[in-house]
């Protein structure tokens, strides 16, 4: 007996011109781990939401076909009724945390499901321990890092003892080692797992079965081995990437930015950077690597001039632009074109920048009506349009599909070749660079 069945499922969001998912059929079995791959906007999140009952109950829209979880038709069962049997971890942990303290957050779902009061704290502690977050139990959720919050969200989902675990890019804020530990814990949960991921290497290593969606259609439903062959033939960009090596010969251009013995702390007594040096020349693409909390973002902000070092000095001989993490959240204008024109006040330049990231036809749309992937690209265009001589990018490939990531990398190398420089802080070990600098924290 299948745990979940999807039959000829087609779904169109309210006001959308075309369906997000089209004529999709599949079955999920108990305990299997399934990687869900596909480009941004291919319908992965919609499929996850349909299995949680959030589509159509929360979003509205036109629903055709059948989605059943444990023989319950999701059109009739509300998401709250499916909760427990199904648990979901969404992409952005900040958007799903309800309570002020970690242990209360994990207990929240158990309380909703009517768990016996004497079972709530033991199950809370056990699930926090299972994701390696027992030490966070009494911490305030507002004080946790993105990576810590993601672990708390997973603990909240696992505490419910779900049969089906739906994960929408759950490792997007974790460094590679933490992401591998995270996924290993999922594997050990015993639940059937449907895992949507853009960093395909980890997902493919974990999965028993692989689905590939494109433009709302299911192009592939195969075992991992079958999927690897199919991907090699049809979508090679999705194959597990090798760790990127350093690129070209060392650059000899003028130094654009130099940091000497830089120290920085957000809180007194808790240094993030301790005596870090950095040098970036014209023509270079340099990657900053390191685990969560090692100071990549801080050094990137120092290089861009958004922070000042406590000690040491940062000398920059050029204009700098900085693309923050999650740029799609920080949009200020009401038209995509105006958003990009904000930095330069020139709509023609803005239009060209929009076309560069494939958003030319959406110039008149409200930025918040764009999909999350489109918003990320809009944020990128809004920084790149000013053509700063030093471009600093913080996790530019988060939530970006492999083919788009390759396009960004190629664009960056071309940008640097024009006599400018780029500094990229990323967890993505496959992102190409001329040089890689690994931070280990203060």
């Amino acid at each position: 007996m299948a745990l979940a069945r999807v039959r000829r499922f087609t779904f169109t969001y309210p006001g959308a011109e075309r369906p997000a998912v089209c004529d999709l059929s599949l079955e999920l079995e108990q305990g299997e781990v399934i990687a869900l791959l596909g480009p941004s906007g291919s319908g992965k999140s919609t499929l996850l939401r349909a299995l949680a009952g959030l589509v159509p109950h929360f979003h509205g829209g036109r629903f055709e076909g059948l989605v059943e979880v444990g023989e319950r038709d999701t059109r009739r069962a509300r998401p709250a009724d499916l909760a427990g049997r199904v648990a979901t971890v969404f992409q952005d942990p900040e958007d799903q945390v309800v309570m002020g303290r970690v242990e209360n957050e994990v207990a929240f779902g158990l309380e909703n499901l009517g768990t016996a009061p004497e079972e709530i704290w033991p199950r809370t502690q056990a699930s926090l321990a299972a994701v390696g977050a027992a030490h966070l139990a009494s911490r305030r959720t507002a004080e946790l890092s993105g990576g810590e919050l993601q672990r708390v969200c997973l603990a909240s989902a696992l505490a419910l003892g779900p049969e089906l675990l739906l994960l929408d890019e759950p490792t997007s804020q974790l460094d590679p080692d933490a992401a591998e530990q995270f996924l290993a814990r999922i594997r050990g949960s015993g639940a059937a797992v449907l895992l949507a991921e853009q960093r395909t290497g980890r997902a493919l290593a974990l999965a028993d079965r692989v689905l590939f969606l494109e433009a709302g259609r299911l192009l592939l439903d195969a075992t991992r081995e079958g999927a690897l062959s199919w991907l090699a033939e049809h979508r090679p960009g999705y194959l597990p990437p090798a760790r990127a090596a350093n690129g070209r010969a060392p650059a000899t251009g003028e130094i654009l930015c130099r940091a000497e013995a830089v120290e920085f702390a957000y809180r007194r007594g808790r240094p993030i950077l301790g005596g870090v040096d950095l040098e970036l020349r014209r023509g270079e693409v340099v990657v900053l690597e390191g685990p969560n909390g090692s100071g990549k973002t801080t050094l990137a902000k120092l290089a861009a001039g958004l922070l000042r070092p406590d000690t040491g000095r940062v000398v920059r001989r050029a204009s700098a632009g900085y693309l923050s993490q999650d740029p799609g959240r920080y949009l200020v204008r009401e038209r995509a074109l105006d958003e990009v024109a904000l930095a330069v006040g020139d709509r023609e330049r803005a239009r060209r920048a929009l076309e560069l990231v494939g958003l030319g036809p959406l110039a008149d749309r409200h930025p918040r009506d764009l999909s999350s992937g489109e918003r990320e690209r809009l944020g990128f265009a809004a920084v790149a349009v000013a053509e700063p001589e030093l471009l600093v990018l913080d996790e530019p490939t988060r939530g970006i599909d492999p083919e788009r990531k390759e396009a960004i990398a190629q664009w960056l190398f071309a940008y640097a070749a024009g006599g400018r420089g780029a500094l990229v802080a990323t967890h993505d070990r496959s992102f190409p660079a001329d040089r890689r600098i690994t931070l280990t924290g203060a």
Partner: protein, 234 residues
């Protein structure tokens, strides 16, 4: 020693009420000092804006109100006559009242600071034991304040990162609409996540609170005794 949420909130509320009711300057000063010591247990980065607000508003009352009041006969300084305000003089009695009111305001603001930064709001609303949805709304509103702070800082940084300076009140005011729009989006996402976690389902339960310790019971006794003490003797 860490107090449970309800006794801690009761003690903070009683201390603030006592500071408002007490008439002796020294008594209010002691209460404000005790509250300041409690507030210093919060992380420095979070407590700084709260403490700045609490101390500067109390100081503001102390510095300004003697010029606006007309009480007492022991003149310490005699100033010019200003239209609307009248004669600007400062008396000994005005200074005493200004100090008392300044300390009262500081004590109340410090009590709120301790409540905001140190009390477990989740447990406090759970301890209410009724109106779970309303209590949860309060908990969510409390939790969303730091999210809003972070979003505001992130938005300003994103705009500065594009080379667009943010200057003056008008520059910051322009960020308010997108900040509100972002908060509404976040609220919608949160509602979706809550529904996916079974919120609104019939038959919910409550996680048991820890039993009250002797410190909790002592705090409750002090809270009950402190208010009449302040009203009658302090």
């Amino acid at each position: 020693m860490r107090l449970a949420a309800a006794p801690a909130a009761a003690l903070l509320g009683a201390t603030a009420a006592t500071a408002l009711l007490a008439e002796r300057l020294a008594a209010v000063a002691v209460l404000a000092t005790l509250l300041l010591v409690v507030c210093l247990r919060a992380p420095a980065q979070r407590r700084t804006p709260y403490l700045f607000g609490a101390l500067s508003s109390g100081l503001g009352v102390f510095l300004l109100s003697p010029f606006l009041a007309a009480v007492g006969y022991h003149v310490l300084w005699s100033g010019p006559t200003v239209p609307v305000l009248g004669k600007l003089d400062v008396t000994e009695e005005e200074l005493r009242i200004a100090a008392l009111n300044g300390l009262r305001l500081t004590a109340v603001a410090l009590a709120f600071t301790a409540y905001a930064l140190l009390v477990d709001h989740d447990r406090l609303v759970a301890a209410a034991g009724f109106a779970r949805r309303s209590a949860l709304a309060v908990a969510l509103a409390t939790r969303l304040v730091p999210s809003l702070e972070r979003d505001g800082a992130g938005l300003a940084e994103a705009v500065r990162g594009r080379g667009v300076p943010i200057t003056g009140v008008r520059g910051r005011a322009r960020l308010v609409p997108p900040l509100v729009a972002g908060s509404l989006e976040r609220a919608a996402s949160l509602a979706e996540a809550m529904e996916a976690r079974g919120f609104g389902r019939a038959g919910h339960t409550r996680s048991p609170g820890a039993p009250l310790t002797r410190w909790d019971r002592l705090a409750l006794v002090i809270a009950v005794v402190l208010v009449p003490l302040g009203a009658l003797w302090l």
